[in-house]
Symmetry: C2
Subunit: 329 residues, 2 copies
């Protein structure tokens, strides 16, 4: 099977690439060719796959995107996007990358499909819970409206609609995954409004200070990077027959408060680690986070076998295993 | 006030243009310039407005669309679209006209807004209940998901998302109106799957035969052309403050069965008119119509003052008054 990952230099894309290269299979199907593309050339993962191509390209260039699918990959993961903050700061770039880039990819697949009608690749699209906007019900159901409150969310929702339409028309066999906030993000603290959810665990686990800008009662919806990679791999091999025409699925996750995060940190690393969290209330962040979903039912995805963590202990453990070599320093 | 109607040669667009030309005002605000654009040059309506321009242009040409807003219309009605059947038959044309055309218009407004930040025109966008797709709850609420089952519906939903995003960003002051099936459509019978809903009233009222391809128990959701024009005029002068960021509104309408249509015809024109309806069951039409919404709550729109007919007697009366000179031949 030939696999293409667009957005393979991003955090989830790179983890997915590493996993595919290491396993050289998804379920029972062997992966013999892997193409990794992003705006910067993705790192070449270690593994035993015969052919690995790494490419730097701009998804907003239709010709470059067309070149990605001329060898007709059986499976396409589409994770390329500029993030929420940047899409909000630069309207043109957001629509150009997040909407046009997605459209160019789907159109490139359509061109191949029209040359060879039996070519209908599985396409797994990284969407986001940003397609939802407040006010929310206590728990967002699968039939809740798309009413995003960011340009990023609007662009992801537009990509979802096109994915479903192209799937319904038999051009591609798409699944859109509305990802929860990913926690614990590896790496360094960043300035994303959601960053603190990861920072207050990752930094104290490594013996560093972290800033908490909101109350401990704040509730949000999470999945680990490990769970996110699992969503993509599950979507890659899912039988889409029972999915029907509604191809965009809210992914499962953990609804939890900051207090629950902190208690999981205490159980994993003790009071000393918890003591590294410094309270610095930030009204702006508090207001932004106040508009975010606190719980999502994700019944369809759960019924289709998608799985996420059910406690922050699991999320912390996944981070220690996957990012810290299994132990706290 | 300067008003632009894009799609002014279509059925609703032309009625709206005639009404504006006749009234030369919307509410308290005078209309002194009216620009009417469509893919064919719109008919020049009778009236007293100082400046009326009529233009033929292709909305998928960004330069042509930009030229429409260089004089900064205060109010823009955007009704230009290719219809559902054509968008399904010609995927490229559907996305080009219905998505790109809408985007070019919003982008042209953005360019003017960036030149002059106080320029934030009201934009009223013709959306459709085609943004919904089966299965439905018994009554579709305002927070029901966007899951269209046609390319037309997907393109309208994408336009809605962009309208809401550009409104939230203060580029334009948009309202999207999800129109019910318009009944009674004037003119001749057409081959649209929904055509019979109008045909079985309009033709017998004029003493002609009409074909009914489905059972009388079939239920659907309707508003008259008169009500539709009313929606656009109400949206043009609505205070959008209380609307908030969810700028796309399901319009009110009448949920009724074919049997109720027929009984209204009987009350208006007698058994002889009803006798002109010929039953010719059509499995294809039956199946298509079976996937359509039967009832929509439209609570937000009703609360905001949008009004539609509450019986088929009213719908029939509007047709007799507006299209038949007030009397049945």
């Amino acid at each position: 099977m030939k696999v293409l990952i667009v957005g393979a230099a991003g955090m989830i894309g790179a983890k997915l690439a590493s996993r595919l290269a290491a396993d050289s299979a998804i379920g029972e199907r062997g992966v013999d060719a892997l193409t990794l593309a992003d705006v910067v050339e993705p790192r070449r993962p270690a593994g035993r796959i015969g052919t690995v191509r790494t490419l730097a390209l701009d998804v907003s260039d239709p010709g470059a995107v067309a070149g990605l699918v001329t060898d007709r990959p059986d499976l396409v993961f589409h994770l390329a996007a500029i993030v929420s903050g940047e899409a909000e700061a630069d309207l043109e770039k957001g629509y150009r990358v997040n909407l046009d880039g997605t459209r160019h990819l789907f159109e490139a697949i359509r061109a191949e499909h029209e040359r060879e009608p039996s070519y209908v690749p599985r396409v797994v699209f990284a969407s986001s819970i940003a397609v939802y906007g407040a006010p929310f019900p206590a728990r967002i159901g699968d039939d809740f409206q798309l009413a995003p409150l960011t340009s990023y969310g609007a662009q992801k929702a537009m990509g979802e609609l096109m994915l479903a339409d192209f799937s319904r028309r038999g051009i591609l066999d798409g699944l859109g995954l509305r990802l929860p906030t990913i926690c614990i993000r590896p790496g360094r603290p960043n300035k994303a409004a959601s960053g603190f959810f990861s920072n207050i665990l990752r930094e104290p686990l490594a013996g560093e200070e972290a800033v908490l800008p909101v109350e401990e009662s704040v509730r949000h919806f999470f999945a680990s990077p490990r769970a996110a990679v699992g969503f993509f791999l599950h979507a890659a091999r899912l039988d889409t027959g029972p999915v029907g025409p509604r191809r965009n699925l809210a992914m499962p996750g953990l609804s939890a408060t900051v207090a629950e995060e902190i208690e999981a940190l205490r159980r994993a690393a003790g009071d000393k680690a918890v003591g590294l969290i410094r309270r610095e209330p930030d009204e702006t962040i508090r207001r932004i986070v106040g508009g975010w979903a606190t719980d999502i039912e994700a019944k369809r995805a759960r019924d289709l076998g998608f799985r996420a963590e059910t406690s922050f202990d699991e999320i912390v453990r996944a981070h220690i295993e996957d990012e810290m070599g299994g132990r706290i320093p």
